[in-house]
């Protein structure tokens, strides 16, 4: 018997124009938690897709328990008892928890599902590993944390003993993260082997036994977590020293730019309100951050603020002007810029050229349109200016189709467009999601420089580090309410987590 349950030896996987995995070796011991660290685009997903049978490597091979195996499809991987919790959960929303767990491995008699039998088995598993779920609940009604437990149970139900967790903490509160870490340790203690994909160093330090670091498709090395430091790991990941904090000069905020008064927004999912009675303001020269776990009303609030959806009650004032029911275009003209949460859904017309996307918020201005006809020359000139000024890289310059650009450059194009509007209020929603460290640093700098030039910035972020680093004030949103206002200088991540989980609040209680 080999020491290792899974070995991926000298894996090379190429895509047209890029080597996604270059001679990577990864060895997983039985009962260990092995972290796979790397930036976005470092090749983590590709490597896991190879292990899962989604891609075939050009070179290299895989061994299970010392024996060479060929994995051609996810079914082969399942047969080898390899299971994965995907970053985006793969759950059928309208099915019950029970149906989701048994899907594809249903206990049947003459083709009829024996749901009772399945439920009994799942109950046993959930007791054994401390994973509580409500089997009869419909998935779309349960919390993200429970959805993740459903995903874990799916793997256990299939008797998987090699468990892959793909960025599992992105959607969880600090407390839920702690609980997940406990579950992972539990699983490892019961003899399961865990591969833990992440780019968060704290989590690696707290649970992982060993860590393999990838950078730009290459394997940088495997280290024992006990023998290393956070700084060392991050240098391995990025290839240079990283500044963990953002430099921010002290400035005194100026006049109020945005005033939100008792705003409520109706929910699209249930009959109640997604945003309840939210009030706050943002002044010139400050970054106010709305923190919270995904799905606590931030998206709905921003949609209402930017005009994508309707406000149910309350008022929004921009520079003293009531814009509660103003159309989007008017808000934009009045000085609101919006870096949307989902750059591909809202931020860009992916099949348009870069230049057409760069004028998306301006194409109607006389500079770009004359008697209904577009002034192509001016559009080109303007696009070239922005591309140079904001260092947007693309294959063919202004005529590149945005779909073909990398995520970082797509985001840069949006940031360029929104900042160049010279707004009074910049709304940035998860502006660094899915980007690599270089792009994150760049975008953070841009946001801070807006603040420094006395613009008002409203930032919505799920990344606690980003919240703590950038903001001047933190508002915590929980179940549609602002439950806390915190000063990043005096608060800790742990405390922030308590607010985010709804365990603590310091505003809003008197209103009820």
């Amino acid at each position: 018997m080999s020491d290792y349950v899974i070995e991926m030896i000298n894996i090379t996987k190429k895509f047209p124009g890029i080597v996604a995995n270059d001679n990577i070796t990864l060895q997983l011991k039985k009962g260990e938690i092995h972290a796979l660290l790397g930036e976005n685009g470092a090749g983590k997903s590709t490597l896991m897709s190879v292990l899962f049978g989604l891609y075939q490597p050009e070179e290299g091979y895989i061994k299970k328990d010392g024996k060479k195996v060929i994995i051609n499809s996810p079914n082969d991987a399942t047969a080898l008892h390899i299971g994965m919790v995907h970053q985006h959960f793969k759950l059928v929303e309208i099915f019950t928890v029970l149906d989701n767990i048994i899907l594809g491995a249903e206990p049947t008699k003459y083709g009829f599902i024996e749901r009772k039998k399945g439920a009994e088995r799942i109950k046993k598993l959930s007791e054994q590993y401390g994973l509580s779920v409500d089997l009869n609940a419909v998935v779309e009604d349960i919390t993200v944390g429970m959805q993740q437990r459903v995903e874990i149970l799916k793997m256990l139900y299939r008797d998987n003993d090699i468990l892959i967790f793909d960025e599992p903490t992105a959607v969880l509160t600090p407390q839920e993260i702690d609980e997940l870490m406990k579950i992972m340790k539990n699983l490892a203690a019961e003899g399961k082997s865990i591969l833990f994909i992440t780019h968060k160093l704290n989590e690696i330090m707290s649970v992982a036994d060993r860590c393999t670091v990838l950078r730009k498709g290459k394997c940088i090395g495997t280290v024992n977590v006990a023998d290393t430091t956070k700084e060392e790991l991050s240098e391995m990941m990025v290839g240079r020293k990283v500044e963990f904090s953002v430099q921010k000069p002290e400035i005194t905020p100026g006049e109020v730019v945005l005033e939100v008064k008792n705003v409520s927004v109706a929910s699209k999912i249930h009959k109640g309100e997604a945003v309840k009675n939210v009030s706050f303001n943002v002044r010139q020269g400050e970054i106010v951050c709305i923190a919270g776990i995904d799905g606590n009303g931030q998206t709905e609030f921003i949609h209402a603020l930017s005009g994508l959806d309707k406000v149910k009650s309350g008022e929004i004032l921009l520079k003293g002007k009531n814009i509660t029911h103003a159309p989007i275009r008017e808000r934009s003209k009045d000085g609101m810029s919006h870096i949307p949460e989902d750059r591909q859904k809202h931020g860009l017309v992916l099949d348009y050229s870069l230049e057409d996307n760069l004028v998306l918020q301006k194409y109607w201005e006389p500079e770009f349109v004359n008697k209904g006809f577009l002034r192509r020359k001016n559009i080109r000139k303007y696009a070239e200016k922005l591309i140079e000024q904001y260092d947007v890289r693309s294959g063919q310059g202004p005529i590149t189709i945005c779909r073909s650009m990398s995520g970082g450059n797509q985001q840069k194009a949006i940031v360029a467009r929104e900042i160049d509007k010279n707004p009074d209020l910049l709304i940035a929603v998860q502006p660094t999601r899915g980007l690599d460290v270089g792009a994150i640093e760049y975008i953070h700098k841009q946001i801070v420089s807006q603040r420094n030039s006395m613009k008002a910035v409203l930032l919505v972020s799920l990344e606690l580090d980003e919240v703590m680093d950038l903001s001047d004030r933190i508002l915590v949103m929980y179940e549609g309410e602002i439950v806390g206002e915190l000063d990043p200088k005096t608060t800790t991540v742990q405390e922030l987590g308590l607010y985010m989980a709804g365990a603590k609040r310091n505003v809003g209680e008197n209103h009820e």
């Binding site: 079914n75 994965m84 059928v92 309208i94 049947t108 599902i113 799916k154």
Partner: protein, 301 residues
């Protein structure tokens, strides 16, 4: 049997059969706009086979069985044109469905003329052998429809096959990740829609008349069936009830046409207008399978 009831049963049978077919296709993730065309082809095959067998003095029982099977098989074959285009080649489902509808009428006329060997595309057949009573309008298709409704319900909600099929229409990536072959399930869904659509087409013409001119297609019944499916919320029992409502509507349109001082054309429009009203009323709460209309590509995850 009172005429109203008789006609209502006839139309309900057809609409429910075809709508159930559409349901299977959409539940698996493929919008089947080609139901109209599938009905035409099923009707054609059934009509020609039964006509041939009658001439050959085939026993009635055998004649009925063979013709019905012929209509199902031809409906299935025709639906595979949609299946292959949309599942394997990821073609646009709406365009493909529309192409099938146009193709079906042209093809049916060409084939019908080959069969009749005259410039007419009208096929004659003995409809009485399909009916409960010699002069009645209600045929054995009613039984097929009831069985199909019940079986669909059991299949979808009680068996693993149904669970898997539905998962492909809702979240194909999830289905794929647990080892379900999305392509296979979608072929299954489209196949069932072809079989039921073909049968429904045959049921329609046989219960309506003793001869059928194929240049008229099936006069928009396939589209009404789609509306029935939406009204029935992609659920078998509700589809049956929805079909009953639409069947009654169609019956009123035919039986009372030209009476009550209302011009005939208003009656002709009635089913379509009712359909629009129903769609408007149900559009807010209607919940189509989430992934329908989106081609599934294993490469993109």
């Amino acid at each position: 049997m009172p005429l109203v009831l008789e006609y209502t049963l006839v139309f309900t049978t057809v609409l429910a059969l075809v709508a159930l077919g559409g349901m299977f296709s959409e539940r698996s993730g493929v919008i089947n706009l080609g139901l109209e065309g599938i009905m035409v082809i099923g009707a054609l095959a059934g009509a020609i086979v039964t006509s041939v067998l009658s001439k050959a003095n085939c026993p009635n029982f055998l004649n009925v069985i063979v013709s019905i099977i012929a209509s199902m098989i031809s409906g299935w074959l025709f639906s595979m044109l949609l299946g292959i285009a949309c599942i394997k080649f990821k073609a646009d489902q709406t365009i493909t469905g529309t192409a099938l509808n146009i193709m079906s009428t042209a093809l049916a006329v060409v084939i019908a003329r080959m069969y009749t060997k005259t410039p007419s595309s009208q096929v004659d057949y003995t409809r009485q052998i399909y009916m409960f009573s010699y002069d009645g309008n209600v045929g054995i298709f009613l039984i097929f429809m009831l069985v199909a409704t019940f079986a669909s319900y059991v299949f979808l909600f009680k068996t693993s096959g149904g669970l898997r099929l539905m998962s492909c229409g809702e979240h194909p990536q999830a289905a794929d990740s647990v080892g379900i072959n999305v392509y296979k399930e979608r072929y299954l869904g489209v196949s069932i829609s072809g079989i039921l659509g073909g049968l429904g087409g045959f049921a329609y013409i046989v219960q309506s008349a003793g001869q059928w001119d194929f240049k008229y297609g099936v006069t928009g019944f396939g589209f009404l069936a789609l509306a029935v499916m939406i009204f029935g919320q992609w659920k078998p029992i509700k589809i049956l009830l929805a079909a009953l409502v639409f069947g009654l509507c169609q019956t009123v349109a035919i039986i009372y046409s030209g009476t009550l001082g209302i011009p005939q054309f208003v009656y002709k429009m009635l089913p379509y207008i009712v359909c629009m009203i129903v769609l408007v009323l149900t559009s807010k709460k209607s919940r189509a399978p989430k992934a329908e209309g989106q081609p599934y590509d294993q490469g993109k995850r």
